[in-house]
């Protein structure tokens, strides 16, 4: 079959360091093509070349049989190539409907008409999003839905999805995959980037794997399985390290009760929830999106405030605490590592050292008032080596790092505060398998050192295989505590839903 889009020997270099090198890639009409690889493998760069976001340093792109170069994403969009970015490109101060029709408004635009047609369109995609809602009020999952809907709405012939499912619930993923299949039936070609290998195996017709900016293999999905993909992605097998079965000897015994949360409430999001956190243990917290798990731990870390009246009580080392700012929690040794690293985790235009120093500033651990370049460089070098952060140089800006390495910077920024309680919120979201393995090892090491570790995750194998005890959150409260020895994915999901 003649490919709709073909890349030949494409190379893209930043500051003469190639992000992708001599990559050949073809996308057939009406296929779903999964693009896999570790963070930093060059997946995003390759798709950015296709969508006209970046210009290739060398090589050529053939689209619909003609050699093409898109000057910008708008040109690509008008030619039928749309890209749904990991970080959404919506206008926060506009409604969902306005965002959907942004750039394609009629001369005489009626708000009501836009609203109705957006509503019908979203319903046809099975996306439960209110078209009248302001985008800034939407959660990450719903923003992603709007972004996807916008790409579909432009009747593109090629749609590139960069990790579209990272923020979706299992139910939303099911709808999303059904949508992909409908698009495929209509003849739309889809490039699908995901770190969830099972998703690629389930939905894709063909798989292409990149490693260190080079093409490793391309083939029909039937030729791959999980282990083969991982081996191709990282050059070694990790399945024995990730998500292994645990027995009683692997479980850590609880240490001292360091934090006790009793009946805390915050509006309708957190409702009378109670639980304890112990030293030397990993407490896994599972809950569906909207279950209040993140909000609960943001209250503990002083980011959100619990209800002024009847807001419950939090005791740290048997001492009641009520934080009004995160700085108070940080000074008490509580560190929250955010799930949304791009907007809350780091300053993307600052260097690794500057970001780490910001962590020190938050904990009041800096010496003196003058920031020396040497200090920043030393910090960057120390933590780059400690957390195995891969960067072109220690002065690299965080925006230039891959997702996994950015996550490590966020973790480093937290750990530099020398916390006693570390709360990881989705620590491996948007992170490749090799970095997942390293982050898991780090989390285990922290618990082994006697720190109280909380890990919030939507990924059940991660919860089951890393936690020493599992708390399940539903409708704003902890509804179940399970031991990993007795817990199964079904039991956890049942508690989270019923």
């Amino acid at each position: 079959m003649e490919p709709i889009l073909r890349l030949e020997k494409v190379t893209k270099a930043y500051r003469s360091v190639p992000a992708i090198q001599d990559v050949d890639f073809d996308l057939r009409k009406g296929e779903i093509h999964a693009l896999l690889g570790e963070n930093g493998a060059g997946k995003s760069t390759l798709t950015k070349v296709m969508a006209g976001v970046v210009e290739p340093t060398s090589g050529r792109m053939i689209y619909k049989g003609r050699e093409t170069t898109f000057a910008n994403p708008n040109e690509a969009l008008h030619s039928g190539v749309a890209m749904v970015f990991q970080e959404t490109s919506l206008v926060p101060s506009m409604t969902v409907a306005q965002n959907l029709y942004l750039g394609s408004e009629r001369f005489l635009n009626r708000l009501r008409g836009t609203f109705i047609s957006a509503q019908q369109f979203l319903q046809s995609l099975n996306f439960p999003v209110d078209p009248g809602a302001m985008v800034e009020s939407l959660g990450a999952a719903k923003r992603q839905m709007v972004e996807i809907a916008r790409a579909v709405h432009h009747k593109s012939e090629v749609i590139i999805f960069d990790e579209p499912t990272a923020t979706l619930t299992p139910e939303e993923k099911r709808h999303f995959f059904a949508l992909l299949r409908r698009l495929r039936e209509r003849g739309v070609s889809i490039v699908f980037i995901s770190h969830a290998l099972e998703e690629a195996l389930m939905i894709a017709d063909r798989i292409t794997i990149l490693r260190d900016g080079e093409l490793v293999t391309t083939g029909p999905t039937a030729d791959f399985d999980r282990d083969k993909i991982i081996a191709a992605m990282v050059g070694r097998t990790l399945s024995g390290e990730l998500y292994r079965k645990r027995d009683a000897s692997h479980l850590r015994k609880p240490g001292r009760k360091v934090l006790s949360v009793q009946d805390i409430s915050m509006g309708a999001m957190v409702r009378n929830t109670s639980f304890s956190i112990f030293e030397g243990q990993i407490t896994g917290v599972f809950g569906l999106i909207g279950s209040g798990r993140t909000e609960t731990f943001k209250i503990i870390s002083g980011i959100y405030k619990r209800d002024f009246l009847r807001g419950g009580q939090i005791t740290l080392d048997d001492r009641p605490v009520r934080y009004y700012t995160p700085a108070q929690a940080v000074s008490d040794g509580i560190c929250y590592i955010t799930e949304d690293r791009k907007s809350e985790g780091f300053f993307e235009t600052m260097s690794i050292g500057e970001n780490l120093f910001a962590g020190m500033l938050a904990a009041g651990r800096e010496d003196g008032v003058v920031i020396r370049k040497r200090t920043l460089r030393d910090l960057a070098e120390e933590w780059t080596s400690r957390l195995n952060i891969k960067a072109i140089n220690p002065d690299a800006r965080v925006v230039e790092l891959s997702g996994g390495n950015q996550q490590k910077v966020v973790i480093g920024k937290g750990l530099i505060q020398k916390p006693r309680i570390v709360i990881f919120d989705e620590p491996t979201r948007g992170v490749d398998v090799a970095a997942i393995s390293e982050i898991h090892q780090l989390i285990n090491d922290l618990a082994d050192q006697g720190l109280a570790v909380v890990m919030i995750s939507s990924y059940l194998p991660e919860i089951l295989n890393l936690s020493d005890r599992i708390l399940v959150c539903r409708q704003g409260r902890i509804v179940e505590e399970l031991s990993p020895l007795e817990a199964t994915e079904e039991k956890i999901m049942y508690a989270a839903v019923h």
Partner: protein, 346 residues
């Protein structure tokens, strides 16, 4: 944070209860346990040279596996505590009498509410006096009056009684060791170490009212909690006018107060509208009575726990005793001595 104590005056302090999680994770360890002996009012347990003894009402019983309890002593008043060291047996009665090896012995002046007895490793006899103001049977009155009139006493071998600590909120268990003793303080929901003129908290914020302590053969201890804390009772304990009205006008069995057993009368107070939904008794309901035995490690940190939940009947657990033959738990509310699997639980 600095202003919180001032703000609390206006917004009211949060009434919260520590969650049953971690080592206190709810299970049915006591509900599923085998019945070792049926003994109405089973209260205290001790290991004597002649076997395991249990007190219930006015009688002292010897317990044997597979046999009915054998009554070995009967006293003129209900027994409030027992302890043994080898062949030496101490028995305290609710009228304040202290009997050692069958003969009444002197007790400290003003002590008439002996709630626990224990022999230390050096042979010293320790006792806890629940309250200066009430007898052992009137524990609910002492709680509702919010008294802190309990004390701990020690009598060294051949010596006289010495007051080790005072001002305690119903001390109900004592576990002597070489450095003093660990005492359970029911009304403050905690274990404290007493000795050397100091009272040091060892384990705080327990989710119930702690009762007696006993040592384990391999180190550590067993602690029983005779009733759970619940929000309604915590609330009533802060509402002085209501509480004193209730004490004056309502029969004690129907007070909003902890109980050794509950659910026997429709006149009993309920929280949150009820503890039955569609005829099903909710195990997580906020009940007035509960059964809970907790295994503590050598540092008095909870390891595992065994529960009889709101829908169970083996409540009012006042004593636990672990021997080489296994664990026994006395359930006063259930009227039985249980033999749970000590390795089960959270």
């Amino acid at each position: 944070m600095i202003l919180d104590p001032i703000l609390d005056v206006f917004r009211g302090r949060a009434i919260t209860i520590p969650p049953l999680d971690g080592a206190f994770r709810a299970n049915t360890g006591l509900d599923d346990a085998a019945v070792f002996a049926t003994l109405l009012g089973a209260d205290d347990l001790c290991r004597h040279a002649s076997g395991v003894l249990a007190s219930a009402g006015r009688g002292l019983f010897r317990l044997r596996a597979g046999a009915a309890p054998e009554q070995v002593e009967t006293h003129p008043a209900p027994i409030s505590a027992i302890a043994a060291s080898g062949a030496t047996l101490a028995v305290a009665l609710e009228d304040g009498t202290l009997i050692e090896n069958g003969a009444a012995v002197a007790r400290p002046d003003g002590v008439s509410c002996i709630t626990a007895l224990a022999y230390g490793p050096d042979g010293a006899l320790w006792l806890t006096n629940g309250s200066d103001r009430h007898g052992p049977a009137d524990w609910a009155n002492d709680l509702m009056e919010r008294n802190s009139a309990g004390s701990v006493w020690c009598r060294a071998p051949g010596g006289g009684w010495q007051r080790v600590a005072g001002g305690l909120g119903w001390p109900f268990g004592v576990l002597p060791d070489t450095k003093g003793a660990v005492v359970s303080e029911s009304w403050r929901h905690r274990l404290v170490r007493v000795g050397g003129g100091r009272i040091t908290p060892v384990l705080r914020h327990l989710p119930g009212y702690p009762a007696r302590l006993s040592s384990r053969p391999g180190g550590g201890a067993w602690l029983t909690l005779f009733a759970p804390r619940n929000r309604l009772i915590e609330f009533v304990l802060r509402e002085n006018h209501y509480r004193f009205d209730m004490m004056a006008k309502v029969p004690r069995a129907f007070w909003i107060a902890p109980a050794m057993s509950s659910g026997q009368s429709f006149l009993e107070p309920l929280q949150c509208g009820g503890i039955r939904v569609m005829g099903v008794h909710k195990p997580w309901a906020p009940s007035r009575s509960y059964g809970l035995a907790v295994r503590l490690d050598a540092d008095m940190a909870p390891e595992i726990s065994l529960h009889s939940r709101a829908n169970g009947k083996r409540h009012g657990t006042c004593a636990a005793l672990e021997t080489e033959d296994g664990l026994l738990v006395a359930s006063r509310g259930g009227g039985m001595v249980l033999a749970p699997n000590a390795g089960e639980g959270a």
